[in-house]
């Protein structure tokens, strides 16, 4: 089981690889769309990589609810 901190670090690495955003900028309060400028295609890539990395399932209806980085960290923590 990864801690919330470990999940944030892992998620930031994925976001950096897919969207080129500095890991330091991927903090819990940031919105994927409004703050990090990540489009829907990249969100799908991030979700697939997060599923592999943390052993969770992120169905499309759940993915749409994950507005901020913090939302994603909480969801992964709860479902891993």
């Amino acid at each position: 089981m990864a801690s919330n901190e470990e999940i944030l670090t892992g998620l930031a690495e994925i976001v950096e690889e897919v969207a080129g955003i500095d890991t330091a900028d991927v903090s819990t309060e940031k919105s994927f769309v409004d703050d990090l400028d990540i489009d829907s295609l990249s969100m799908v890539e991030i979700a697939v990589q997060a599923e592999d990395k943390f052993g969770v399932k992120i169905p499309d209806d759940q993915l749409a609810e994950l507005k901020t980085v913090g939302d994603a960290v909480d969801y992964i923590a709860k479902n891993q």
Binding site: E17, V18, A19, G20, S40, L41, V44, E45, V48, E51
Partner: protein, 416 residues
């Protein structure tokens, strides 16, 4: 109805098997270098795995990922990457500044063709679907494989809202793109067009397919001597990859903004053979009509055209027929050359890169030699530059491009 607009070339960009830009490609051509090499290495392990008979190609001299940032590159198929590399050089060469700065976005268009589009993505993603299932398939699969991808990405990069087109006519695509761009500008529908072609299809499947059609050279032991258009010992073409892009403008618009003009694109002809899906019509009638249409649009007489930059791919059937078409349209006087002897065959990029070469021949007064032309095919009765580049003062020249499907395109360029 407004008068027909004169059109000029203000920007050139290319990435080819001989260099990562126009200057290095042109220098290598005049130095007589070949872009063809053995490719049966680790990166092309499929050649050995499938025991393909062809072990040579003309890959890019500079990897596009050396120029395009990593995160941007991973959203792009290789054919989209090369188009963006060449377009950037052409746009900057034209001195157009920031997008929207010098040309109204609604008066800017893109016309960039490709022969096959993002085939590397198509094959890779199909492998992932087969081995890993749905969730391994990238959400970017479709925008990466679609043949309008190179044009669309260049349109987004420079904010072209006038129009974005992607002509697909196999090996004639690049030249046909210039022809359609010329029509847009002559009709005064836009002020500036970013036009050309892109291709990146050196894959196991495409090489196997071309090999099965018996169109590729098997001269594996002498890669640099394999592409030999017009030579009696030619045995097929060598597959290349790359992109060539021109910035074309209405002459009045270019003059008003003080742009440097490198030449005129004066006319273009597009015809079709309606004869055979791969083989050219042997008498070259459709090819000849394309050349005639190009010089008519340009207001030139056949005697004005001093040079033809030939399509000549180094296949047994194609090269002789083209010279017949040139004789029929222009007569015996034009001096010929065949750039595929050095660049290989860049399919949908070929006609655009070779149009740049044609324009540079007019501008600099020098025609590169056809490499490997040691013994001229006796069926060819025209003057082909061989051995050394030839210095010739040219007022006008034509670039030929023909494609599977019976597509014929000819573009006429004139001196400023």
């Amino acid at each position: 109805m407004s008068a027909v607009q004169e059109v000029v070339v203000t920007g050139l960009g290319a990435t080819t098997p001989l260099g990562g830009n126009v200057a290095s490609t042109w220098e290598a051509m005049l130095a007589g270098r070949s872009g063809v090499r053995r490719i049966d290495d680790e990166a092309h392990e499929w050649i050995t795995r499938h025991d393909l008979p062809v072990k040579i190609a003309a890959p890019l001299a500079v990897e596009p990922t050396e120029v395009i940032p990593r995160v941007k590159a991973r959203r792009l198929d290789r054919v989209e990457q090369v188009a963006l590399v060449a377009a950037k050089e052409a746009w900057e060469h034209a001195g157009l500044g920031e997008p929207g700065e010098q040309v109204d976005p609604t008066r800017l268009a893109v016309v960039i063709g490709t022969g096959v589009g993002g085939v590397i993505t198509l094959l890779d993603q199909d492998d992932l679907l087969e081995t890993g299932g749905l969730r391994k398939v990238s959400p970017l699969t479709v925008p990466m494989l679609m043949p309008n991808g190179p044009a669309a990405w260049v349109g987004i990069e420079y904010g072209a809202q006038g129009a974005v087109h992607a002509p697909v006519s196999a090996c004639a695509s690049g030249a046909e793109a210039l022809a359609w761009a010329l029509r847009l500008l002559r009709a005064n529908e836009v002020d500036v067009v970013i036009a050309g072609g892109a291709e990146a299809c050196i894959t196991g499947l495409t090489v196997a397919g071309f090999a099965q059609a018996r169109t590729l050279s098997l001269r594996n032991d002498e890669p640099e001597r394999a592409s030999r258009p017009f030579d009696v010992d030619r045995d097929g073409f060598v597959l290349g990859e790359g992109s060539g892009i021109m910035v074309l403008e209405r002459a009045e618009f270019a003059a008003a903004r003080g742009a440097t003009v490198h030449g005129r694109i004066a006319g273009a002809g597009i015809t079709a053979d309606a004869y055979h899906i791969t083989g050219p019509e042997p008498e070259g009638r459709g090819q000849s009509r394309a050349i005639t249409a190009a010089i008519r649009m340009a207001g030139l007489d056949p005697s004005d055209v001093g040079h033809v930059n030939c399509h000549a791919t180094s296949t047994v059937a194609g090269d002789v027929g083209e010279t017949r078409a040139v004789r029929k349209a222009l007569g015996d006087h034009p001096v010929l050359t065949a750039p595929k002897s050095q660049l290989g065959h860049m399919v949908g990029a070929a006609g655009a890169v070779e149009s740049i070469v044609t324009l540079l021949s007019i501008r600099d007064g020098i025609i590169p030699a056809t490499l490997n032309l040691e013994k001229l095919d006796p069926g060819i009765e025209l003057d082909v530059v061989a051995g050394e580049p030839r210095k010739v003062d040219l007022q006008a020249a034509v670039c030929d491009s023909f494609g599977f499907g019976g597509h014929n395109a000819a573009v006429a360029f004139t001196k400023v």
